[in-house]
Symmetry: C2
Subunit: 138 residues, 2 copies
DNA sequence: AATTACCTTTAAATAGTTATAAATTAAGTA
DNA sequence: TACTTAATTTATAACTATTTAAAGGTAATT
């Protein structure tokens, strides 16, 4: 995982400006284990930044993804989720309630998968779909 | 892979009607190795069914997915692709040109992945992202 | 041929995301 | 500190893929 300062430094070193909005978004993401959507970040940021816009959120998050600090997940076809943990791992998605959980994967497993293609894979996603325990009961 | 008749029978056995549109869509998908979008199916069906609608395409494809005849891929965040090969395998997506290719995976590999989660996985997707050979040159 | 429930079409709505242009601001410089 | 400039943010509108609702059409059974 990364620290706020680490991200800010990299932004600066690449010539990006350290704006209040960027800092706020980075702080909101730092250390999180869940997978917020743009909507979620937007509403969480209302208190500190009532005027923040979706455009800023989307562009910042994209920047962070390009710099390798987060992953953009398309596991949920309704909306995009952001994962502040950049290291490759798998995800489980409950098709009933939308629960989205991390799943560990060994380095060996990751390497094996990345080598499956004849092209060089920059990144990878492993998505498992099903029902969580709660939803399976019903 | 499945045959047209196989799909029609299953539809019938589940009480669904065998309409001309459904048959046409199933025929268009049968045996395909690519991953058409709704748009693509729509335009390909214009000749034989000039009045077909997106609503029909989306609902039929969803039906086929529920019955296990195709997979709905969210590898491309711009649009959904349909994969008429229902057996689990991986996919590669070129982030520059959009090339979308199948990748084989051993049964063993599939089982290992599906067992990673504490929940029972009904289905799984493995997406590799990068540049195809063409795009990598530039 | 008549019936009926299901299906397709049309049209409009929805929702997530992106583009544009004007206003703001970070950061370097005098 | 004030000034300058280019990057960034905001507000708004646009866009696009997908879904929904209502009305008419049709497959399958009688």
């Amino acid at each position: 995982m990364w620290s706020i300062d680490e991200v800010l430094e990299k932004l600066k070193s690449r010539g990006y400006k350290l704006t209040g909005q960027r800092k706020a978004i980075i702080e909101k993401l730092c250390g999180r284990k869940d997978h917020p959507t743009a909507e979620q970040l937007y509403s969480e940021l209302q208190k500190s930044h009532p005027a923040i816009s979706f455009a800023t959120i989307y562009s910042t998050v994209q920047l962070l993804a390009e710099m390798g600090f987060l992953q953009i997940l398309t596991i949920d076809d309704k909306k995009t989720h952001f994962d502040p943990t950049p290291e490759t791992h798998a995800h489980f998605f409950c098709q009933r309630c939308g629960l989205l959980e991390d799943i560990d994967m060994s380095q060996e497993e990751r390497d094996t998968l990345k080598r499956l293609s004849k092209y060089r894979a920059r990144s990878m996603q492993v998505y498992l779909y099903g029902l969580c325990h709660e939803c399976d009961k019903k």
